[in-house]
């Protein structure tokens, strides 16, 4: 093909001209009609996140229904430590920002910056899990257990704990929803650490690695997004 062809531009030739853009390797790669330039891995992660989001939606709907039906549901403010969990929420938001900063550094081929932010992201997740472990421990000592809640004033003298006579929906839904989310955070931290060591092991940031990092970031942001909803519905409302 000649130089004049290229100079004439696409407008004059219409779509028959596509063949001129590639360099003799067959048809050029066009953006997908539905998904644009999103990679297969990214689309797959989004689909997984949709199913996961629906699972959380089911748990939260169950919680909501039980709560609406129950007229003697305790005010979460009286039972749970809102301030401490507020700090945990803030930590998770911070780690979400660290994740996008890591991606931004990776897009500029700044390997050390990318690794530093990625480690901070995982650290934020670990701090969140630490706070959650402390909180669970505290709650269990207060008598809030998976199978039910016995208020300290209902215990006999010398008694440290006992089974609640009737399964208590407050405690059960609390542990089920926050525990399911905590498992996601655990998975996310492992996922991020795997990406961290993978990045540590290679000298340069490849487009493949960037793509994988972006997908890992999607999962991590999803965990943050779900926690924002769970925190509001379980702790604050």
């Amino acid at each position: 093909m000649s130089q004049t062809h290229a100079a004439a531009g696409h407008d004059a030739h219409g779509h028959n001209d596509h063949g001129h853009d590639d360099h003799g390797h067959g048809m050029p790669a066009l953006p997908d009609a539905g998904f644009g330039t999103a990679t297969n891995g990214k689309i797959a992660m989004w689909m997984f996140l949709v199913t996961d989001g629906l699972t959380f939606a089911g748990l939260l709907l169950g919680y909501g229904y039980l709560r609406i039906k129950n007229t003697d549901w305790p005010n979460p403010q009286d039972v749970l430590g809102i301030a401490l969990t507020g700090i945990a929420t803030f930590l998770l938001i911070c780690s979400s920002v660290a994740m996008v900063m890591s991606l931004a550094a990776a897009s500029e081929n700044n390997r050390s910056g990318m690794l530093r932010w990625l480690f901070l992201t995982a650290l934020g997740g670990m701090a969140f899990l630490g706070i959650q472990a402390y909180e669970y421990n505290h709650n269990i000592h207060e008598g809030i257990k998976l199978w039910g809640m016995v208020k300290p004033e209902h215990l006999e003298a010398g008694e440290k704990w006992k089974f609640a006579g009737v399964p208590d929906n407050f405690a059960s839904t609390f542990y089920l929803v926050t525990g399911f989310h905590g498992m996601h955070v655990t998975t996310g931290v492992i996922y991020l650490l795997v990406m961290f060591f993978k990045g540590l092991g290679q000298k340069k940031i490849t487009p493949q690695y960037y793509n994988l990092l972006e997908i890992a970031g999607l999962f991590w942001h999803f965990v943050d997004l779900v926690w924002i909803l769970v925190f509001t519905f379980i702790y604050l409302i």
Partner: protein
Amino acid sequence: MAGHDRKTYIKIFLTLTILTAIEVAIPFIDRKYGGKFGAREAGLFLTFTPRWSSSMLFMLSIVKAGLVGLYFMHLKYETKWLKFIAMLPAIAGFYAVMMCGEAFYRFFYANWNMLDPVSQELLDKFVAAR
């Protein structure tokens, strides 16, 4: 590799932090002032929930989740089709509305002589005001 705008990220981060602070403050404000200035009655009338804070917290959390999805997950820069797929779990909101409607129907009409004293008092006031 999509361009990353650090300024936007920081702006979203600050917004999320401020909204979280407001959210955490709401239950405390509700506890302190909920019974005053007719706030509880106004909340009951406007939102059909005995706690005015509930609907406010609900809206704030949706806004925060939306910000994370749009800017941190880069959903803003994806195609319409991918946005639609990502929004599918929001259908739970429809079920939530149906569920709340059913529960409140029973709460206010079907079992209305079985209310707890606080709700009964509120309901009496609510009816008397009309």
